[in-house]
Symmetry: C2
């Protein structure tokens, strides 16, 4: 298990990856310390900030100020907000902007934003001059607990999400838990689905803690810092053991095979479904499917689903607004997902609350039967 | 030093990179064995061949035949020949073609061609699904002795060559020395400049061997296999010691700082100058500059230059056809090169024949004075 170091209201999680190890600093007001934290680790560098049109008006000027105060000159490129920014043409724009500034390999790209910006900026940092320094400043709960840690970067292809990218680790992650208070309730909730995921993977005691403390996590304060730190520590431990997703890292995909299929079936229309909501429904489906296969008791499956419902997350396919899905459509989307290996379907299933495992040999027929039952269920 | 294993007319060089180690098979007729060599290492995979309009008519059908006979189904994408293919839009085409075939991470991209195809296909293999299997089948001397070994992949930016890419190792390199007989004399000579480079870096005995055997290397036969194998072994040893170019790998850039500046000043117009010719002139300049700095005797510098001249390679800036260059233009191109670190100029200089070293602190003024003298020299 990865340690969590506490210092005042903040916590530090170390991702152990040998020469590529790095710290995640988590707490209120971390943004104001960004300049000194970066300058302390890499004096004399310059920075290119990649951000989006939602985040820029809120934090970009402050960010450039604190960098300047620490002696770090920075430029900024502001991309459109939203998933469409994870494209080859936007990647080209970011790369060109960094090269136009004549930044060198020791200089840094900073991602200031949510998962889209982190994935895009990290990919750019990984390929400019075959790899520059990279720093993540995630501004959404989803990015703080999931996408900013672990080094997965990338963009989407017209043929599927995240099909193009590199494994590329940041040198530092700065997670300011105060900035999460500017998120919409829907966006915070969507990120919270990934928080619950860590409990359901292999930490039943964390799941129980969330059942008791979820209101405080949503309200802010020390419980929020604690929750983010525990998620980062959990992800750090998995990543340290399996950096390039050949084995146990796949557990992090709990809820994601069903979730990605639902997002694809909804045409990635965020008015209908955002990623965290897809994961929430996906985790509910994974637990119900595990119950149907006799792996977990109906009681435990219901308990997992109920906590997601308590915080207002969707748990039924029928809760997705718009045209109904068919079994064929969902099965086609599942087959397109990159977690298909040599034609067999891989799912993360569970043997109990917080006892998930990788099941590599699931027959398409069983999945199809299960989904038919779910689609027939009343809303 | 990396071992060379001999087997019949062929030789094998192993690139030692821990879990990412791989073999380079060198010899006549290797192409005909490609299917069995690939299938033996990775049974059951599928392949996407990336090639260009020059190579496709010569070898593509044969390549797909030998793969089919070994049970490997393949698709092919044929790109335009030439440096302009190392672009973001061509990269997008290759990536999309591989994804369209629904290849998985364990399947392979095969680069069948020269350095341009190897760099482009390797980059694509490195980013599709965050890294697929990759096999190099280099068809030029330059690619066999240099670009196919070591894992540097990438494309050009309007702001400079090779500024975008990843370090990504192939799983196998198949260098058929017979296919080199279809190269034009100019192209073979250009590749030979990189062969001479290995001698001049740190193998004076190999340089002497080349002085004696260059005609046989050009004619084909065992000397050609021997030369390619010695170059691959030399490069493999450097790469194994410094995979990501933080230290001694920079020695491989002997002749390249001047060479790249000349290529850029000639607008990458291959009618005026191809890469190997730029490297030949660059190595001549590096030796003369070293002599001017009092590092090497004039006699040794002249001997290095004379061998390049013997095989018909250019060694003077004035031999480049077209408009004359100015010192300012060349200095500007040198400053743009990515081997500039924190504003200091880095050159590979030499203390004797085959005694090159990395000089990181060369003042722009000295370089500028030296180039002024070279530009004044008669053609």
């Amino acid at each position: 298990m990865t340690d969590i170091q506490a210092s005042g209201a903040s916590k530090t999680v170390r991702v152990e990856l040998g020469a590529r190890s790095y710290d995640i600093l988590i707490g209120p007001g971390i943004l104001a310390r960004a300049g000194e934290e970066i300058a302390r680790r890499a004096p004399g560098i310059r920075a290119a900030i990649v951000t989006d049109e939602t985040v820029a008006p809120l934090y970009l000027a402050r960010m450039q100020d604190v960098l300047r105060q620490a002696g770090i000159a920075s430029s900024a490129i502001v991309m459109p907000a939203g998933e469409a920014t994870k494209s080859l043409s936007c990647l080209g724009e970011v790369v060109d902007s960094v090269l136009a500034d004549r930044l060198e390999r020791g200089d840094t790209v900073i991602a200031l934003g949510g998962g889209v910006i982190g994935d895009l900026a990290g990919f750019a940092a990984g390929i400019v001059r075959r790899g520059m320094r990279f720093i993540q400043i995630p501004t959404t709960l989803l990015a703080q607990v999931d996408s900013s840690v672990g080094g997965k970067t990338g963009i989407n292809s017209p043929r599927g999400k995240n099909l193009i990218g590199v494994f590329y680790q940041p040198q530092l992650v700065l997670a300011d838990t105060e900035v999460l208070s500017t998120l919409s309730p829907r966006e915070f909730r969507a990120g919270y689905a990934e928080v619950v995921k860590y409990g359901l993977i292999d930490q039943p005691e964390f799941f129980e803690w969330l059942e008791q403390h979820h209101a405080a996590v949503f309200a802010g304060g020390p419980e929020r810092v604690e929750a983010v730190a525990r998620c980062c520590a959990a992800k750090a431990a998995v990543v340290a053991g399996d950096e390039q997703e050949h084995g146990n890292r796949a557990l992090l995909n709990l809820g994601h095979t069903f979730g990605h299929a639902l997002e694809a079936a909804a045409n990635y229309d965020s008015a209908r479904l955002v990623h965290g909501e897809g994961v929430a429904i996906g985790m509910a489906l994974a637990h119900r499917f595990s119950a149907q296969l006799g792996l977990i008791s109906g009681q435990d499956a219901t308990r997992a689903v109920r906590h997601l419902q308590t915080v207002g997350l969707p748990t039924e396919i029928s809760q997705i607004p718009g045209p109904r899905f068919t079994v064929d459509l969902l099965m086609d989307k599942i087959a397109q997902d990159k977690k298909v290996s040599k034609g067999k379907l891989t799912f993360i299933l569970t043997r109990g609350l917080g006892q998930s495992f990788v099941a590599r040999d699931i027959s398409a027929e069983k999945v199809s039967e299960f989904l038919a039952g779910q689609l027939d269920a009343p809303a």
